[in-house]
Structure formats: C-alpha cells, structure tokens
C-alpha cells in the first residue's frame, strides 16, 4: 500500500518529464556512440583483417588493450585525466568519446570475426576479375560479413545502451543519474522509480533485439 501510494507522487508529471529527458540523453549518447563505433570499428576491423605489415599488428595491440580495460576507467580517463593534457571536454562529449573508444574496439573484433567467416573463394573470385582489394571488400566481402555479424553487433549495442548508465559517475544527466535525483527527494520513491527506469531500459533494448530479428529474417 505504501508503495502504491508513493507511486502516484513518484510518477508526478514533473518527475516523468525529468526522467524522459534523462532517457533522451541516454538515447542520444547511445545513438551517437553506436554510429561512430560502427564506422570506426568497421575500419579497425578491416585493418586488422587485412594483415597490413606492422600497422595491423599495432591496431590489434590497441584493440586488445582497450578491450581489456573497464569502461568506467575509460570514462574517468576522458573526463578527469584528459584535462591534465590540456584537453577539456564537456561531460556529454567525454561520455560519447569514452563509449565510442571502448565500443569501437568491441565492434572491430566482431567485424574481423565476421570477415574471417567468409570463404576466401569469394575474395579470389572477385580479385580474379580484376577488382581491387577495396572494391572486393566493399561489394562482396563486407555485405556478406555484415549479415553474419548482425546478431553479435546488436547484442553489443544493447550492452552499450546499458553501459551509458556508467556515465552517472561523471554526472552525465542520463536516465540512471536522474532516477537517483528523483528518489533522492523522497526515499519511498526508490522502488517505483527504479522499476520505471527498468521498464524504460527494457523497452529500448528489447526494441533493439526485435530490430535484430527483423534484420535477420529480412536478410536470411
């Protein structure tokens, strides 16, 4: 009963508006980071796949280092440590850069795995007709590889959406942060608010996984 009655006041119009604003920031950071990390990750993944002397090794080393660090550390680094090197970024930019840096490495490994799964005969067939390496990659290999990569990519992006909540630690006013502000006013709000934002995260991420299924059936 206490929870029910506190729900009414917890879900006041002001609180809901405030939380939806937080969801908006969560989605903004997610979408920008997804787009950037998809592009950067694809480039890095192709570089690592191509085995360019030294360069691919170097990129591989960077990927392995970043992938094995906690995301929170990277977020702290971009926001708290970069200013010491004279790079001052806003909270939003820091969060996006940290998410992108981390996710690009994860995406790069997914891309490389997808590329490796494509039969080398596809490459030989294309190269034997005089197509360049880049044309072969763009027209033949990548389109086939992306198809196999959609499920792991989407699950990576779902993790990304959830991980935006880590930016609470640098006071990014995203959904998780704003939830804490709201139930900070009144402790009885805690359960309803947490349930509400859980539902919000669920809707966004479940939407993503439905999108993955749709892609899968469309491309299969």
């Amino acid at each position: 009963m206490i929870i029910l009655s506190s729900m009414f006041s917890a879900f006041s119009a002001d609180n809901l508006k405030y939380l939806l604003g937080g969801l908006g920031i969560t989605i903004l950071v997610s979408v920008v980071s997804i787009v950037l990390s998809f592009v950067i990750g694809s480039i890095l993944g192709v570089i690592r796949y191509e085995k360019i002397p030294y360069f691919s090794r170097f990129v591989g080393l960077i990927i392995d280092i970043v992938r094995n660090l906690p995301l929170l550390l990277i977020i702290f680094f971009t926001y708290f440590a970069l200013p010491r090197f004279g790079v001052h970024l806003s909270i939003l930019t820091s969060a996006i850069i940290a998410m992108t840096a981390f996710e690009s490495m994860m995406v790069a490994e997914i891309i490389r795995g997808g590329l490796k799964s494509i039969d080398f005969g596809q490459t030989e067939g294309a190269r034997s007709t005089g197509m360049s390496n880049a044309q072969t990659m763009w027209h033949i290999i990548l389109p086939q590889a992306y198809k196999t990569m959609i499920p792991p990519l989407i699950s990576q992006f779902i993790s990304l959406v959830k991980d935006t909540s880590l930016a609470t630690a640098i006071v990014l006013p995203e959904l998780m942060y704003r939830a804490q502000i709201v139930y900070g006013q009144d402790n009885t709000y805690m359960v309803p608010i947490l349930l509400l934002i859980a539902a919000m995260y669920f809707v966004v991420n479940y939407g993503l996984s439905l999108l993955a299924k749709w892609f899968d059936s469309k491309l299969a």
Binding site: G130, Q135, K147
Partner: protein, 245 residues
C-alpha cells in the same frame, strides 16, 4: 606470340618446393590441358598466372607483363586473364546477372546498358538466360559453374584459366559445363589453359597436353602424341591408370 611464358620459375610454400624450374610457353589462341596426379602442382601453376599465388624465382610473363616485377599492376593482368575455379566462387550476395555485370562495371567502366546486354548474351550462350535474377544459392553446381564462366567471359579476356572446373560437380552436370568450354575453345583468339581430369575433353579440344608431377613439368606434347606415345614414363603410367576406368 606467346601469351603466357614461364622462365625458370620456382615456387615454395615454406620449405615445400611446389614448382620446380618450370619453363612453359603458351601461344595466344592455344588450348592447353594440364594434367597430373593430385598434389603435382597443377593448381599452383595455374594460380600463379593471374597472381593468386606468388612465385619466388624466375620470370612469369603474361600478356606482356612480368608478374614477378613488383611494379606490375596485377589488376591489369587480371582484366585480360579470367579464371574459373573448382568451387565456382560466385558472389553469394549478388544475383546471377549482377555476378556477371559487377567487374565490367567497376573495372572496365562499361556503359550500363551495354553491360547488361553483354551479360544477357553470355547467359544465353551458357544456356541460363532464365536464371538472370536467381541467387547463386538457387542454382545447381553445373549452373553455378556456367555462370562463373559467363562472369569470366564478360571481361572479354584474352586468356581463360580453368582450375579443375568439373571436379566438384555431380557426373550428370559435367557435360553441360564441358560443352560450354568446348564452345569457348573453338574461338581461335582465346587462349585457354585447363587443369582437368577429363581425358576425353583433353583429347577433343586440346592443342597440347602438359603433364606434371611433384612440381615439375615432365611432358609437353601435342595432344595426339601425348595420348598415343608419351615420352615420359610417369606420364605413361598415369595414362594407363586413368584410362583403365
């Protein structure tokens, strides 16, 4: 004039000596069949001709370009030298027609209407005009190989390389593919090098037969001489083994 010329070519895979002092010259317009037991280096040899395998020593001159020279743009050779593979290697993400039209569009910048016209003519030539919009996954092995041949022909190459084109096919599919190849061989301008186990095909279309074993060319004779009275004892033995069936 020689279209393909090997001069003292050596090829290694690590410590394995895959091609040993290969000397071979194929004239423009010739149809040459390359035979030998498996592991003899036939596929390796044919794959060096369009740069799918590198050579370590010697000279390999194809259509006037030296393949071993790092300054040679390999794509200029490939434009003129097509390849047909054992496992077809059709682009799985493209329709039959797109498989044929892609390289002429990207490499030759052929006009789109002309490109489509050429592609449809070739599909018709290989008997698959009705499969223009099919995806490769919907084709049988023999159909795939005929599309792959059409794809090579679309570049209007001077030479075509066939690397065991019928080895992965069901027996009833082989005839259609060989018929298309015979048709191509009858074009006197086309240089053809074919790695195959189809002895009857070799007898019917080859001007010359080359026999390889353990990375060496052991016999290089006219077709008639090769099948009636080869010089090399291993070629003799090989023939008696394959002809017994």
């Amino acid at each position: 004039m020689s279209m393909i010329e090997f001069k003292n070519v050596e090829k290694y895979y690590g410590d394995f000596h895959a091609l040993k002092n290969v000397n071979l010259s194929i004239d423009a317009g010739e149809t040459v069949v390359l035979i030998g037991p498996s592991g003899s280096g036939k596929s390796t040899l044919i794959r060096t001709i369009n740069g799918l395998e590198e050579i370590q020593e010697g000279q390999l001159i194809v259509n006037g370009y030296d393949l071993h020279d790092p300054k040679t743009d390999i794509n200029r050779i490939r434009k003129n030298v097509g390849m047909v593979f054992q496992h077809f290697n059709l682009y799985n993400n493209k329709s039959t027609l797109e498989n044929i039209m892609l390289a002429p569009r990207l490499v030759l910048k052929r006009d789109e209407a002309e490109n489509k016209k050429v592609a449809m003519e070739l599909l018709d030539k290989v008997g698959l005009a009705d499969k223009a919009d099919s995806m490769p996954s919907a084709l049988s092995g023999g159909q795939k190989q005929r599309v792959a041949i059409a794809r090579s022909l679309a570049m209007k190459p001077k030479a075509l390389l066939f690397d065991e084109p019928t080895s992965a096919l069901d027996p009833e599919m082989i005839g259609d593919v060989l018929d298309v190849m015979k048709d191509i061989a009858s074009d006197s301008d086309m240089t053809m090098l074919v790695v195959t186990h189809e002895m009857n095909f070799a007898k019917q279309v080859a001007d010359r037969v080359i026999f390889m074993d353990a990375g060496e060319i052991l016999e290089d004779s006219t077709t008639e001489k090769f099948f009636t009275n080869p010089d090399d004892p291993r070629a003799k033995q090989f023939l008696s083994q394959v002809e017994r069936h």
